[in-house]
Symmetry: C2
Subunit: 779 residues, 2 copies
C-alpha cells in the first residue's frame, strides 16, 4: 500500500480546539492492543474458560414463513449429557426492544422465541449439554412440527398486491412510511428543465466481523455475568436486565476485546439472550458461539433497499431538486434499529450540495428474510450511491464534466454552518477543497489489455459523533447518547482511563491513551485504558457505534483531563504558595514559571491528593475525575472518493485498479489509525460495490455463498487527510470509523458507467458482479 | 444469651444529626451476608479456583535468632512437580514498610526474605509445586545451613544489661522511646498524699481469625491480581505495587469475604508478598494458605507489654496524677504498626477521668519473637487494665466504694468537649450515666458452692472513627484516612453502594445498605453493596480497621446520598416546573407537597438522568455520586463493663458468671449488629483476661497451645446501649467494632481482686489462668 497521508498540512483555522502542546495527539503511535491481538492473547469470548461450563446449540427454523405447531423435546431431554431444552413455551414473555424507532414504526419490540416463523434461521429452541458435540447431536434430534406458509422476498415484491403478509393483522407489509423534506419537491421536479430519473437496487450485505458472535453467561443466584462479543456492553446489560426482570446492577457484561463489530454487535440478539436464559435456568456457565453455517441468517444483515431517485436541474446545471423514494427491506421484523437506517439514508441524501428542494419518502417493508440492522455507514453508502450516480448521469446527459458539475453545486466553506433541506446542521469543512484535492491526486491507469477503463468520483458528508441525548419528553426514544470517562491518577502517577466505549479493533485503547497522555501531561506508557466491563467502566448508552468513540468518548476524556490538571495545579499552588496561573505542569513536575527552584513533583501531589494530606480548602481527597460530554449536535465529517476500474467486456469482471480517498474527520489523534480504518472501510465498500450479497431464493432460503473481498479485489488505496477541527467536540475530533464505506459503491459504479458509457444509465444496482455487468452489456 | 438492649431510650440531645425519617437506620435488620456465610457460599480465598494453579509452601526458620548461612535448593528444584524455589538471594531488595511509625522509631521497613533470623517461624524460602503435597514434601527437603545465636524473650529481659541484641549496630533493643503528657507528672506523684503503684504484665495474644490468612495470586504479564483475606485491599495493593515496582493500577486486590480480621489482616505480610512474587516469576496462579502449625508464629501477635503504673490521689480521693511506664514488646522488628499500638496505650491511658497530671513513657523493645501488630482494641485493653486496676486498688486501700471513687473523678457531660492531658479531644457523651446505668444492672450471683465471688468494674473511653488524614508535610507518616463512597442509582432505581471498606464479618454490607436505603429513600432490597475489590471500589487508605468502617465510610455514604437526592430533586423540579424546596421524595415518587397530582416517578427521573434526557441546565447526565468524608477529628465512644466471677480456691480456676456492658457508640445503624459485635469482642476480652497467651520458651520457641475461650468460658452478656450522636461524623455514628474488647481484662481482674481481697494488690497480670491464680493464693 502507499502511505501518502499528511501531505496536506493542518489548516490554520479552528486551532483553538488544540490548546495544549500536543506530543502524542497527531502522532502515529503504534497500536498498543496489537501486541495482544497478534500474539493470540486477545480476550475474545472464545478464550473465556469457566469451570463447569455447559454448551448450547440453537435450533433454527428451516423454513422462511410458517408456524411452529409443536416441538417434541421429550426424547432429547432424556439423552445422556443433555441438561436443558428451551422452547417458545418456556419463554412466552421474553422480548427485546427496538432501540431506534422510525416515525410511525408499527412494532417496537419482538419475541425472543416466537412460534410464528418469519425467516429461515429464526431461533426456535435451545439445547444445552455437557459438550458442544452433545448439544449439536441433540439439537438435530428435536422434532419440529411446522406449518409452512408462502414467503415473500424482496422489498418491492412485499409491496405488491396479493403478497404474503408477515403480520396479517396489519393488512400490509409496510411497517413504517414517512417523508422528510419539502412538501413541494415533486412540483419542483415537475417544473424543472432537466430531470434524471433512475432506480437503484442495493444488495443485502452482512457486516461479517472476523470474530463470530458468542456468549459465555453465568448466574450465581444473584448476579448474571455475561461475556459477550459486543460493541455496547451497557446496552446489552440494560436489555438483559429488563428482559429477565433483574436489577440493572445485577447484570455484568464483559466484552474485553471484540473482533470486529461493524454495527452487527451493537445490541443483544435473541440467540444471545437465550444463552443467558439457559445460564439462569441451570445456575452454571453456558457457552455458545455462532455456527459458521448460521452466520448469514443469524446475524443482522443490512443495506437491502430500492431507491427511485429523481434529480432535477435547471438549464445551467444547477441542482433544483432531489426527490427519492426509498423502499427499505426490514426483513422479518424491525430489530435493534432497522428502520432508522433508512431514515439516515434520507437525512444524508443531499450530501455536500445545495438543492432548492429535497424530499425523501421512506418505507420500511417486512419480508421473510433475516431482520436488517446496522452496518458501518448506516444508510449513507446507499444515499451516496443514489445521489452521486444521478449526478454523474446528469453530467453525461447534459455534457458537463462530472467534477465541474459537482463543484458548481457544492456548498462552499463560506456557506457553513449550513442546515440542509432535511434538517442536518453541517458544522464545518471545505467540501470543494476535498474534491479539488482528489482531482489532483487521480491518475488514470494507462494500459492496453483489452479491458475498458473509467474513473468515477463520489462526494459525501457523513454524520458522526452520534451524540445529542434528546428525547421526545417521555417517549423513551433514544436519539443518541453522551459519553462519560473516569480518569484517575494513582499515587505513583500512573493514569487510568476508564470509558464505556469498546475496543472493537479500531485502536481506541491507543488513541484514548494518546489523548490522556497529552491532556494530563504524562508519558503515554504511564497511561492504562480500561474498557469493556460494565462493572469497571462508566455508563455508555450506545457504545462504540456510529463513528463516535473518539469524537464523543474523547470529548469526555478531554474534559476529565482538564479537571484533573486543574486539581493538580490547585494542590501545587497551595503547597508552593503560588497562584495557579503562575504554574506549569511538565515532565512530571509542577513549577512556578520563571522560578525553577519552586516546584513540586507529580508524585508528591498524587500522594498528597490520595492520602488527603495538606490539601487546600474545599479540595476533596483523591485524584479521580468523572466527566461527561453530551454533544450539542452531531459533527459532520466529509470525503471525496475516486475509483479507477477496468472492465473485462468478455466476462463483465470489474477490477478496481486504483482508489483515492480525501477525508476530513477533524483533529486526528492518530493518523495511522485513521488511515487504517479508512482503508479497511474502503475494502468493505468495494465488497458492497462488486461482490457481496446475501442472495435468497424466492421461497426465502439463503444461498450459502458470500463473497468477501480479498487482497486480490482491493487495490492500493491512497489517502489524504484534511483536518478541519470540529467546532462541536471538545477535542475538535470528528468521527472516522465509517467514512471509508460511504464512497466506494458510488465511486466504483460511476467508474463502471464511465468505462461503459453505452450502458451508463443502466448501471444502477450493486453489487456489480461479473454476471450483472455481462448481462448489462448483452441486453 | 439475654437480649436486653434498647432499654434506654435514644437521648434527645444531638438528634440534629438524624435529619431524615429513618425507616432502616436503628432497625434490627437481619444481616444480608449471613445467607451467604452460613450456606457455604462465602467468597473466601479458599474458594477461589483458577485454572493451572500452582501451590506454595513457605519454609520457616526453626530457630529464634541466628543467621541463614546457606540454603541448598538444587536437589529440591529437581524434584518432580516442583516449579520454583525462592530464597533470600532471589529477593534482596524486596521490602515492606511500617505504615504507622512511632516517634523516633528506628526502623521503618523490613526485608521480606531476610537471612538474618530474628524469630522462630520467620520465612526463609518458598517452594512452589503442582500440588500442595508436592510443595510441602519438597519444602521439608530444603537444606538450611544455620548459625544459631542466643535469643532474648520478654520485653523486660530485652532491656537488661547484657541481653542479646537483635540489631547489634544499634547497641540496644529499644527501637522507640518517647513520653507523652506532663513533664512535671513525676513531681506531682512524689508530692501526693496517696500513691498506688503496681506493675502489670499483659500476655501475648493472637487475633486468631477463623479464616486463616491466604493468597491466590496471578500475573498475566501486565496485571497482578491478588485474592487475599484482607481488611485493607487498597493498602495491600499499594504495598505490592511499590514492592514489585509495578504501577498501582497494575495491581488488583480482591478480598470479597474476610473470615475475621481483628487487626491481623490490615496489611501485607512477608509470606503473602512472597506468593505474589512466585506468581510473577511463574506467570501462573499460585495459591497459599497459612498452615495450622504456623499460625501462631506467622500471624502478628499483640498485647504483650509491661506497665509500671502509679496513681496519685489527694486526701479526698481526687486523682492528682497518673504516671505510667510502658514497655511494649515489638517482637523481631516493627511491623505494620507495632509501636503505634503502644502509643495508643499512652493516648488512651486517662480514660473518662480528670487528672491534674498525666505522663506515659513508651518504650518499644525488640525481642526474638513474632513481630507484634494490631489487635482489636489496639492498645486500649492494656491501658484500661492498668488504669482501672490502679483505681480499684486505690479504692480498696483508701476505703472508697470503687464506683463512688470513679464517679467522683469522672468527667461529666457538662465538661465535654474536653481535651485530655495527652491531647485527646473527647467529643461527646455522658460517662457517669454509663457507670450509673451499669450499677443499676448488676446483680451479684448468690450461690454457695465453695467458690469465692466478686464483682469488678471498668470504664473506658475509646478512640474510634480513625480519620483525620494528617501528614507532617512530606514526612509520609499516615495518621488516619478519609473514606470515599460511590453511590449509583441505576435506571431501574436499584441502588449500588461501592466502598473501600471491607466485609470482615461485622455486617457492614447490611448496615451500609440500611443507611443508603434511608438516605436515598428507596426500599432496602433495592440496595446492593459492593466491597472488597480494588478494581470496583473507591480508594480506602486504611480499610476496615480501628472501628471506622461505619463511622467514616458511613459518613461518606451519608454525604453521597444527600447529593444523589439533591440531584433527583433538581431533575424533578425541572420536569414538574416547581421549586426544589416544594418537593418531597417518598415511595418511589417525587411529588409537589400538597399537590398529589404533580409528581414524577423515580424510575422516570433515573431514566432521564442516565439517558441525558431533559435535564436542567448545568446538571450532568448519570446518577452516580462520589463523596469523601475526612473526619475533622476522631470521635470517642465509651463504655462501662462489669464482671461477676467465681474463683475456685482449690484450683485457681476463674469463671465469669455474668457480664454487663453499657456502651455508647453514638447513632446505631443496626443495634443487633452492634450488640453482636460487643458480645463477640467481650468474648475475646475474656480470653485475654483468663486463657489466651502465646507462651515462648526462654530460647524463643513458641508453645503449641493457645486457649481460645469457648461457649463454656463466656457467660450471658447483658448489653445496654446509650446513643449520644457524634458531633463529628455526618451520620452521628461512632465506632463500635473494638469496644467490647477494651473492658474485660480490667473488669475481670477487678472482680478477681474483689473476690480475693487478700491477694488483690498482686492481681496484676493477665491471663489469670488457674495456675496463676492458684500461685497467687499460695504465695
Amino acid at each position: 500500500m502507499l502511505f501518502l497521508a499528511d501531505r496536506i498540512d493542518r489548516p490554520v483555522t479552528g486551532v483553538q480546539n488544540q490548546a495544549m502542546d500536543d506530543r502524542y495527539v497527531g502522532a502515529r503511535t503504534p497500536r498498543r492492543e496489537d501486541a495482544r491481538l497478534l500474539t493470540g492473547k486477545a480476550r475474545y469470548v472464545g478464550a473465556v474458560r469457566l469451570p463447569g461450563t455447559a454448551h448450547a446449540q440453537v435450533v433454527r427454523s428451516p423454513v422462511a414463513h410458517g408456524r411452529l405447531l409443536g416441538c417434541d423435546t421429550e426424547a432429547v431431554r432424556a439423552l445422556p449429557g443433555v441438561l436443558d431444552v428451551i422452547t417458545p413455551a418456556d419463554a412466552p414473555d421474553l422480548r427485546l426492544p427496538c432501540v431506534s424507532v422510525a416515525p410511525g414504526q408499527r412494532m417496537t419490540s419482538y419475541r425472543v422465541l416466537d412460534d410464528e416463523i418469519r425467516y429461515a434461521g429464526q431461533p426456535l429452541a435451545v439445547v444445552v449439554a455437557h459438550t458442544p458435540e452433545a448439544a449439536r447431536d441433540a439439537a438435530d434430534l428435536i422434532d419440529l412440527e411446522l406449518e409452512e406458509l408462502p414467503a415473500v422476498v424482496g422489498a418491492e415484491r412485499a409491496l405488491a398486491a396479493g403478497a404474503p403478509l408477515l403480520y396479517p393483522e396489519l393488512g400490509t407489509n409496510v411497517l413504517t412510511d414517512f417523508t422528510l423534506g419539502d412538501a413541494d419537491c415533486a412540483a419542483a421536479v415537475a417544473g424543472a428543465v432537466h430531470v434524471v430519473e433512475m432506480t437503484f437496487t442495493m444488495g443485502r450485505c452482512s457486516p461479517y466481523p472476523i470474530e463470530p458472535r458468542g456468549v459465555v453467561a453465568c448466574y450465581d443466584g444473584d448476579e448474571l455475568t455475561v461475556h459477550i462479543s459486543s460493541q455496547a456492553p451497557h446496552h446489552v446489560r440494560e436489555h438483559l436486565a429488563d428482559a429477565f426482570r433483574l436489577g440493572h446492577d445485577q447484570v455484568r457484561v464483559i466484552s474485553r476485546d471484540t473482533g470486529g463489530g461493524f454495527g452487527a454487535k451493537e445490541h443483544l440478539y435473541p440467540d444471545e439472550a437465550l444463552i443467558c436464559l439457559a445460564a439462569r435456568r441451570l445456575g452454571r456457565p453456558v457457552s455458545w458461539s455462532e455456527a459458521p453455517g448460521d452466520r448469514l441468517t443469524a446475524t443482522l444483515a443490512a443495506r437491502a433497499a430500492v431507491h427511485r431517485g429523481r434529480l432535477a436541474l435547471d438549464g445551467g446545471g444547477r441542482f433544483v431538486a432531489l426527490d427519492v423514494d426509498v423502499i427499505g427491506d426490514l426483513g422479518a421484523h424491525p430489530a435493534n434499529n432497522g428502520a432508522a437506517t433508512f431514515a439516515v439514508t434520507a437525512t444524508m441524501m443531499p450530501g455536500p450540495y445545495r438543492f432548492d428542494r429535497v424530499a425523501v419518502r421512506v418505507r420500511g417493508v417486512a419480508t421473510n428474510t433475516t431482520p436488517a440492522g446496522s452496518y458501518r455507514g448506516f444508510g449513507q453508502p446507499e444515499a451516496t450511491l443514489t445521489r452521486e450516480r444521478l449526478i454523474d448521469e446528469a453530467a453525461r446527459r447534459l455534457g458537463f464534466d462530472p467534477i465541474e458539475l459537482r463543484l458548481r453545486n457544492m456548498l462552499g466553506p463560506g456557506e457553513l454552518p449550513y442546515t440542509t433541506r432535511v434538517h442536518q446542521p453541517y458544522d464545518s469543512g471545505d467540501y470543494p477543497r476535498a474534491l479539488r484535492t482528489l482531482r489532483d491526486l487521480v491518475k488514470p491507469v494507462e494500459r492496453d489489455d483489452g479491458r475498458r477503463r473509467g474513473i468515477g468520483y463520489s462526494c459525501h458528508v457523513e454524520t458522526t459523533g452520534m451524540g445529542p441525548s434528546t428525547d421526545l419528553r417521555g417517549a423513551g426514544i433514544q436519539a443518541g447518547g453522551y459519553e462519560s470517562v473516569v480518569l484517575r491518577m494513582e499515587q505513583d502517577t500512573s493514569v487510568v482511563v476508564s470509558s464505556g466505549v469498546v475496543s472493537i479493533g479500531q485502536g481506541i485503547e491507543t488513541t484514548l491513551a494518546q489523548l490522556a497522555a497529552d491532556r494530563v501531561g504524562v508519558p503515554i506508557d504511564r497511561v492504562r485504558v480500561v474498557l469493556g466491563d460494565t462493572a469497571a467502566t462508566p455508563y455508555s448508552a450506545i457504545g462504540s457505534i456510529a463513528s463516535r468513540s473518539m469524537a464523543v468518548g474523547g470529548g469526555a476524556l478531554a474534559r476529565a483531563a482538564a479537571r484533573l490538571r486543574d486539581k493538580l495545579v490547585a494542590i501545587a499552588a497551595h503547597r508552593l504558595e503560588a497562584a495557579p496561573g503562575d504554574l506549569e505542569l511538565a515532565d512530571g513536575v509542577v513549577r512556578v514559571k520563571g522560578d525553577p527552584r519552586a516546584s513540586v513533583t507529580l508524585r508528591e501531589l498524587a500522594t498528597s491528593a490520595w492520602r488527603g494530606w495538606d490539601l487546600p480548602e474545599g479540595v476533596t481527597p483523591g485524584l479521580e475525575e468523572r466527566a461527561s460530554y453530551d454533544p450539542a449536535a452531531y459533527t459532520f465529517a466529509y470525503g471525496a472518493h475516486a475509483a479507477a476500474v477496468a472492465v473485462d467486456p468478455e466476462t463483465g469482471a470489474v477490477e478496481v485498479e486504483r482508489y483515492w480517498v480525501v477525508n476530513d474527520s477533524g483533529v486526528l489523534v492518530n493518523p495511522a489509525v485513521v488511515e487504517g480504518q479508512l482503508r479497511g472501510a474502503v475494502a468493505q465498500g468495494i465488497g458492497q460495490a462488486l461482490t457481496e450479497e446475501i442472495v435468497y431464493t424466492a421461497d426465502g432460503q439463503p444461498m450459502a455463498d458470500y463473497l468477501l473481498p480479498t487482497a486480490r479485489e482491493v487495490p492500493d488505496i491512497e489517502v489524504v487527510m484534511l483536518r478541519t477541527p470540529s467546532p462541536i467536540t471538545p477535542g475538535g475530533m470528528k468521527g472516522c470509523g465509517e467514512s471509508g464505506t460511504i464512497g466506494p459503491p458510488a465511486a466504483v459504479a460511476n467508474a463502471v458507467a464511465a468505462a461503459l458509457p453505452e450502458i451508463a444509465e443502466r448501471v444502477t444496482d450493486v453489487p456489480l458482479t461479473p454476471q450483472a455487468v455481462w448481462s448489462l452489456l448483452r441486453t
